[in-house]
Symmetry: C2
């Protein structure tokens, strides 16, 4: 027992913000957002807890790394000759797809402070996308503000109330709760069209010289 200590030491370069982020994402989607802890991620990577601190400043930074992972997984390439309405629809459905793919991590992105490192550049890209589709920068900022608030609010609430295996089990078969329909994904598209119609009216109203 004294000889050749078997404690495997992790090779030097095998840890990075990237690999930690991927592991963190796996932990959340498997075990839930509350399970995103330094210790669980270290265990997922089979490394000591303190090894993470060579790449992260603190637990908040760990959440930031996950936000980066999510942004990386959201592809929204510019598309030539697209109306701003269609660009908006594409943004909204890309966002919803991301929420569906990573339901338990999604709120980290949706509610992330603008100060989180990877968020601001992504927002800039979205503004540019709307400007490329013909909006003024002023209008693009207004549109993005409403779109982001609507989509973030809707999707975070939808994802939090997402039926679990347990809740489906215990639900009465004919539970006709009128509120249950409120945040289901059908109404996401309805709300999207409401927001787009409202923006159309605002932008056209301004162009034809009306006040406000």
């Amino acid at each position: 027992m004294i000889a050749s200590q078997e404690t495997q030491r992790r090779p030097r370069g095998s840890l990075s913000r990237q690999s930690i982020g991927a592991a963190a994402l796996r932990v959340i989607e498997r075990d839930g957002l509350d399970s995103l802890t330094m210790r669980r991620v270290a265990s997922e990577l089979s490394c000591g807890v303190m090894s993470l601190y060579s790449h992260l400043t603190d637990a908040d930074d760990l959440r930031g790394v996950v936000v980066g992972q999510l942004i990386d997984r959201m592809d929204l390439r510019p598309c030539e000759g697209e109306s701003w309405q269609d660009a908006t629809r594409r943004m909204l459905s890309t966002y919803a797809d991301l929420a569906a793919s990573f339901p338990r991590s999604f709120e980290l992105l949706a509610l992330a402070g603008a100060d989180q490192r990877p968020v601001a550049p992504n927002m800039e890209r979205l503004v540019d996308l709307l400007v490329a589709a013909g909006l003024t920068e002023e209008d693009a900022l207004i549109a993005l503000s409403v779109i982001d608030a609507y989509a973030s609010g809707f999707l975070v609430i939808a994802v939090r109330n997402r039926p679990t295996a347990a809740s489906v089990e215990r639900a009465a078969p004919h539970q006709h709760d009128r509120l249950a329909r409120l945040h289901h994904l059908d109404s996401y598209d309805v709300g999207a069209e409401v927001v787009i119609a409202g923006l159309e009216q605002r932008f056209e109203g301004r162009r034809s010289g009306r006040k406000q």
Copy 2:
């Protein structure tokens, strides 16, 4: 030291969901949402941690009690002869006032699952308010879905990015970040009018026989 043990025992009736909720709200607004713990609330009430479990099932229930406190503090009485547009404006500004008054607790309400006990009855009240203002129940549910998602998303993000004393200190005086304006309270009203305009168009469009 042996005589008359001084350990003050709390009188029997002095703890309740109500008083625990009020203490929890104080803790959050003073120390932040991360400080909402069983132990801190017990300390705020000068009682043993385990005393809380006579009134709460678990930590999740503690957050539920805070949600109840917030709903109690949101007064939104029905108002005779009000258009649904004005009722919507009143709902949106009441919600914003609540976020301003309880910035660190607000997200517990805004993102609460519909399963949290006090949330559903409150939603029912809001539906009734819109129906009283002339909408069909179908339209009221659509309106509330969009309004709630927009307001919750906007206000939670705004409140999370709310400038702290520290961040104001370190901000450059002429930092003209175009994204900074995105989630400030001026744009809240802009977005509110966009949503209302979109709903108007949808409801009027349907009334005049157009499809969708």
